[in-house]
Each structure stands twice: as C-alpha cells, then as structure tokens.
Subunit: 497 residues, 2 copies
C-alpha cells in the first residue's frame, strides 16, 4: 500500500498529493479549486480548531458570525484593501434561476439581477467594521475581541489542496481598541498564540516576524507572521496577525468617545489561520510511507491490531487495554476487520499516520506481552501488557516531542547565514543529498537594503522572497546581498508556498 | 430597561424582534436578509451545536466539509429537487472585479465570466451525491454516515432573524445505505435525536410526524419532522429528516456491489436543523421582560451581582461561590461593574435570560445569606451561603424541568380536537385571553381526506397547513373537516412560521 506513495525526492509535489489522497484527508471537487475535506481531514481540523478556540477564549475573545456576502461598494472603502483583495473573487450577480425555455435544465433568470453585486467574502474586515460602527460608541465598549470561524473564497488560478484553495475554512479575529498600544499588544498576543499552537500542538517550529511593506496585508500598517520550513526547503506562511491602525475605522467611520469625552477613531487588529495549517502539518512530518501526525492532534492516536485476526482471547485483551486508554482520554480504535491481513493493516495505519500501533497476538499474550510500534521512528518493542497504559501515554508524549525536535533539527540544518548573492543563489539551487533533499532551498538569513525594489529584484532573479524580519533576530550591521547598500539587520529569505 | 420590550399581546412579532435585539442575539446586516449573529447569540448556537454534534458522533456519524458552490447543472439532475430548490438562490456568474474605468470604485470584469454559473448551496444533496459516486463501490463502503456544519443560502423575500434568513447556519447529514430498511431506520434515529435534543436541552416539546406529499422535501420519498408550538399559537418546523430512497443515487449514478456481487442503487437520507432553532427557543420560553433560556444551553447560567456595589468582603464571598460553582461546571459571571446600579443590572440580566441571579449584599452576608432569583418564575429567596452551591445546581435542573413542563402545559392548552370546519376556523381566529393569547391558533387535530387539493383549499381558506401526520397519533376513522370524505386518522394543522 505504501508503495502507492511517490517518494519525496522523486517528486515532492506528487508525494504531497499522494498523501492527501491516500490518507483520506481531502480530494478535489467538481468545482474548480474547491476541495472536499474528507472525514479524517476534517477530524484533524476539528482538533486544531478546538484547541485554537480554547486559546482564543482563554484570552478573552468571543465568537460571532457575520454575513457571507459583502456589498461590492464596501470593498472600495479602504483604498489599499481593494487593491489587494477585491480582485479575484466570486461575484454574485443574480438571485434566481428559472426553467430553461428550451427545456435544458435551469438558466439564470435575467430579471433577477441584483442592484448591487455581492462578493463572497475573501476576508471580512469591511463588513465587520461596517457593523462595528453601531457597536462602538464609548471607551466602555472597548476592547471588542471577536473571532469568527468561517469559509472564505479567493478565486485562485493555481490551487493545491489545503495550501491554496478557492474556498477555504479559517478563523478571522477582528478586534477594536481604544489605543494604538493596546492594538499592537493584541496583535502580538495572537502571534504568540499562533506560535505556541504551531509548536506545542502541530510540533511545527515557526519563526515569528514582521512582513515587509510589499508582503503586508492590504489595509494593515504592519503584518506579523509565523513562518515554517517545509521538507522541500520552501517556507510556508502559517498564520498572520495584522495591526490595522485606524485604517478601517477611518474608512467605515468608527469612532468612540474617550474617557475625556473626546471623539477618536478606533484602533484595529485582524488575524487568521486556515486549513492551510493542515498542509503545513503534512509537509513538516510525513515521510515516504505516508502521513505522520503529532499525537496531540491525531484523530486516532492509537490503533490496536489483532494478530493474525480477532478471536475471543485477543478481543478480551484488546478491550481491556482500550478501556484503560480511553479512560486516560486517549483516542483509540480496534481494527477488528477479519478480512484484511495484519501486514495490510500496518501499512494502512502507517499511511494514515496513526501515532501508535499496538499488536496483540496469542503467542505474545501467553508471555503477557503486546507489541508497540511507533509511527515516527518505526521502532517496535514488546512490552508487558500490564504496563501498557502508562507506556502508551508516555510514548505519545515522547512522539510529540520527537517530532518537534526533528523538525527543529531539520530547520537548523536548512537555515543558512549568507553574505554574498552568489552564495544566496547557490543555496537555493544546490540539493543537499545527504539530507535527502533533492531540491535545494531552506531559510536564508541575509542582509537587505530595506527597499521594495531590491526585494522584487531578488524575487525576480531567484524566486526567493523575504518571509519576514524575525522578531528575535539580533541587530547586526551589514551590506545588502544584492546592492551592497547598508543594512541594519538580517532578514529571512526563502522560496515559499 | 425591560420596558423597551413590546408586550407579546400588543405585537407579538415586534416583541420577538425586540428580544433578539435587546438580548444581543443578532441584528440585521447591510446585506438584505442576512443577519449578524452577535456573541451572545453565537454562544447559544455553539452550545446547541456542541450537544447535537456529540449526539451525532455517539451514533456513529462523522463530520466532513463539501464545497460552498454547486455547479448549476447539478441542480437539474434530480427532477423534483430542482423544482423545489433551484429557484431562489445566489448565483455566482463572475470571478473578478476590476477598477472602474471611470474611477468609481470597482466593477465586475466582464471578461471574467464563468463558463458555468455556480450556485451558493441552498442544501448539499447534489454535490455530496456527486462525490459519493467515487466513495462507494461495495457494500463494505456502507453505511456512510456523514454530517456537515455549514452556511447555506436561500434567497428569501421576507426574512425574520433566525426564523427565516437568506444565509443561515445549519448541519446537514447525508447518509448512504445498502438497504431501504436501514435508510428508514437512520431517518427515524435522527428524528429521535432531534426530538430528544429539543425536549431535553431546549425544553421545547415537539410532535414527531410525517409531512404530507405537498410539504415534503424536494427529492424525498418521505419527510419526517419535529413541530413545536410557539406562544402565539403558530407552529414552527424545528427539524426535518428525509428518506430520499434511491432518488439521488439514481440522479448521480451511485451504485454498489452487494454481498452477492450484484449492482444496486444506494439508499439515502438527509437531515438538518439550523439557527432557526434559536428562534424556536426564544418563542417557546421568553416573556415580556426578555429572553428566557433553558439552563443547559445558557451561555451564562448564573450571574452574581454585588449589592449595592463591589467591595472587599462582597468580592471575597462572590469569588468563593464562583469558584465552587465553576468547579461543578457551571458557567458563571460576576457583574462587578461599579457604574451600574443593581436594579439596572437585574433588568439587564433578566432581559438576557440568565437563568439564575445571585445577589450578594453586606447585610445578607452578616446573616450568612445570599439572595437567589430565578429567571423563569421571578421568585426570590434568601438561602444560607454555605449551601449555595448545591442549591444552585439543583435550581438549574429545576428551572430546566419547569420550562419544559410549562411549555408542555401551554401546548396541551392550545391543542384542540376538532370535527367541523366551523370549529376549525373558530379556533384559528378566537383569542384565548385567559391564557394571555390575543391571536388565536394552536395545534388542531382534525380529519383530512388525504388529498393535496383539500390541503391547499384549507390553507387558502384559513392559512393553516398540515404540520404533520403525527407518528404517535392513534388510528381513528372519521370524516374530512372540509370535504366530509372518509379519513383514517387525524392530522395536525396549524398556522406556521
């Protein structure tokens, strides 16, 4: 079964699609660019969502729901926003179908044309700030800390499941504050939540940083991001948190009376992560045998396989282990399908990334043992069945830690400090075969003169972009790798998804 | 504050809108027919959703996600479905905007016209069954028990928040089965889940029944429903579960190999409840002072008010009670705003339907007491602070029970067996002032000759429709109230939302 997956080094992008398909995460739909998220993929998203939702609520945010449709005119109200967002989107122009007079199904009823077209939300700043105008009058109404879980649509020409789809699921937070400082603090608080979630749950290490003006969200004064490194040496923007200053408040005339009874414009943030995270998760951990999922997010954490097939004694032992692990909150399944051989099941569970597999066989049971196989390292050991519960609980933690450490090591091995443009180009194109990398790339920390012109020139020459100006980078004078002009600090380059 | 709510008997529909607004549940948006669900309203929906989701999962269902858009041609594939559903809907015809050449914002780019229009899903049978074709090959792939939480759009001309909106949130289950019997069992299993949820969580008693052919879902062989009675004597269809037979399998060519290796069409069900339930909840329990929410679903179950305002000793006592109740899983808040007087807060919490209010004052504390006020009956008692936790936990259960019993009594008082058309009309138009009812109506159990013609005639004459043929009604011969033709059983009539 695993053989159906293309090797990463042969064709990385096919490997990715094979995993999405064979692990049953998603598939393309009949609607161009839109995917169907299958039950296993959706269960993964639910686990991510639950944890993020908890973290948002713990920091005082509440959920709400705003309309799917945005009147076309709203998009033009914030000048930069319209440039960045209003272009490739789904436009609703009519509200009725009618029977085709020629008898061929249904056609659009021309008499049901909307006075003003509606846009399927590509993001909701405009409609939300139009609403906030009525919700905010005084400093007592602030801060307003609202999040929304929703679907959004951006008409993408080239799509790839989870990473870039026309419709995707996400959360978008939209907060309103009385002061600039508070809004900036909120932007950073969320960035920290995103980074914590990525590292502690997805086991995906990220670099926190600031986007350059060129990569900034349309309508933001500052965009903060978390950037992760995928196994093919490309970066993935995994989440963004925007300091919107008073831009949307100005565009939608949202003012409040401050404590001195003076009218002021409201300060804003917005922030989001999406089903794209699932793409990041896949590409951070998976291998040529299939998906690898960190235990904390795995829909099924442990699977029990009877060897060679279910029978009374084995079922009883399995039942007992299962009950004990369920009581510890472990998500566990018993694969009692008698029609499939154990070897087939092993490959299938590996493909689906179930972190721990327990093999229960009669001969093992006579010795009071069961077999434990871990998905991350493929190691197998026999352990006493009596200690199985504690062993498995610890093993899940160990796997979680190991995945994060492995990803951190990979990132360290694929991050280079570079001081010449030749070296820069070299790294982007030179495979590191010893690391199983046939494509080159990785993060490159280099000096840049701070201009959009240079940034675009480097992109044109190498396809690499500035992923971010790392928050934790040290101040260090140097010279721009392209122009030689002075630079105050290194920034992080990479080719990116 | 409560005075801002219109009395039910003066103007029921304004009363409803006042509650939705003043309790902060939702508001109309700038997009015609689409509402904004505000944080309190959304928290209520989240509580409903969590419980339903748990019940679905306990019965073997899993969640997935299908595209928002449906190709226009899909809608015509199931002949009845297109008649019932494909008409009033949002049609996406273009995928790009461009800057207006005249400089007035953005306009639709005429060159970005879609080859085939996309419909924003009004319900997802078509796209899901188109997908199932690839998922189902053999009896081993069945049953397929999938649910989706999603937004849907039906272009409604007359909308009312929660009850009928252009966009609404719902869950839609779509299951596939090997046999007719299994599909019917599933349809009924879900109907039971809906009824259990309505009664045990919403405290809203419902009648389970079958829709007449005329009221059936477009594409179903049989539609089962739960019907609730609102305080104005109108019925609310609160959930439907459809036995789709092989209609969608036939339309989308979904076949499976049975155990004898013979090809058969797959049997189907679909079922849904929506944010409409929130409208039903409001209209079942609320009164002229505002919202009343059953404790099990209340976003905040208990609020503590310091009397007359927060101070050290009161805060300490409140903190202690709060901690103890939180430990019991109670959702509790401390309203420590020193700027508002207790009386103002009381009215506000009543308006928002918080089931239990605890008043903590210094004089009471000296006596070791606190005041407990329940929202449903407005009763207040002083109780020893030491027993407060147990008292409140029990009280929440008692309120939940009381609300259900009250609603059952109301329904009993407003359900009539009728055997003549004059009596039928009378009941629909005669107010029962002694029951605070200024509008007439209620459920009417009457004989009907089984024809759509008679059903429509009765609707034309009285505006009452057949809500359902109750599952639990007894067989009882009689004569149709309109035509006098023979009838085998009574059906349930009412004016309806």
């Amino acid at each position: 079964m695993a053989k159906e997956i293309t090797n990463r080094t042969d064709n990385y992008s096919q490997w990715y699609l094979d995993i999405v398909k064979k692990a049953g995460l998603a598939e393309n739909s009949e609607v161009k660019g839109c995917m169907v998220i299958k039950p296993t993929g959706f269960a993964l998203w639910e686990n991510m969502k639950d944890e993020l939702d908890y973290m948002f609520k713990e920091t005082g945010h509440v959920n709400a729901y705003f309309p799917l449709f945005i009147p076309k005119s709203f998009l033009s109200k914030e000048a930069e926003h319209v440039e960045g967002f209003a272009k490739e989107c789904a436009v609703v122009t009519h509200h009725r179908l009618m029977n085709d007079p020629n008898g061929n199904g249904v056609v659009v009823d021309p008499s049901a044309k909307l006075e003003e077209e509606l846009i399927v939300r590509p993001t909701s700043e405009t409609i939300i700030w139009d609403t906030y105008r009525n919700w905010i009058n005084s400093y007592r109404d602030l801060p307003l800390l609202i999040n929304q879980w929703a679907n959004v649509v951006r008409w993408e020409m080239r799509t790839r499941m989870f990473l870039r789809t026309t419709e995707f699921l996400w959360q978008e937070g939209h907060t309103a504050h009385a002061t600039k400082m508070e809004a900036i603090e909120e932007t950073l608080r969320i960035l920290d939540i995103y980074a914590t979630f990525a590292e502690d749950y997805m086991a995906m290490p990220v670099i926190k940083g600031i986007k350059t003006a060129n990569e900034r969200f349309a309508g933001a004064d500052e965009t903060y991001c978390i950037e992760a490194l995928m196994q093919d040496g490309k970066a993935l923007q995994a989440g963004t948190s925007h300091f919107l200053a008073q831009n949307f408040a100005r565009a939608f005339n949202v003012k409040f009376l401050n404590e001195n009874n003076k009218e002021e414009l409201v300060w804003a943030t917005s922030w989001g992560v999406s089903t794209r995270l699932i793409g990041g998760l896949i590409m951070t951990h998976s291998d040529d045998d299939g998906l690898v999922i960190p235990p904390k997010l795995a829909p099924t954490q442990v699977v029990i396989v009877p060897i060679p097939k279910p029978d009374g004694i084995i079922n009883e032992a399995a039942e007992k282990v299962m009950k004990a692990l369920k009581a510890k909150g472990i998500r566990i399944k018993y694969d009692e399908d008698a029609k499939k051989r154990p070897g087939f099941k092993f490959a299938e569970h590996e493909m689906k990334g179930i972190p721990v597999r327990l093999g229960i066989g009669k001969r093992d049971l006579e010795k009071g043992q069961i077999e434990v196989a871990r998905r991350d390292t493929k190691e197998k050991v026999s352990i006493p069945i009596d200690g199985a519960v504690d062993y498995v609980v610890n093993l899940l933690d160990e796997i979680q830690d190991n995945l994060l450490n492995k990803a951190k090591t990979f990132r360290a091995e694929n991050t280079a400090k570079v001081d010449s443009f030749d070296d820069f180009k070299d790294i982007l194109t030179t495979p590191k075969y010893d690391l199983g990398n046939s494509w080159g790339g990785g993060f490159i920390s280099a000096h840049w003169d701070g201009t959009t012109e240079t940034e675009l020139k480097i992109k044109e020459l190498t396809k690499a972009t500035i992923r971010c100006i790392p928050l934790e980078g040290e101040e260090e004078g140097g010279e721009c790798i392209l122009t030689g002009k002075p630079s105050a600090r290194r920034v992080l380059f990479a080719k990116a998804y």
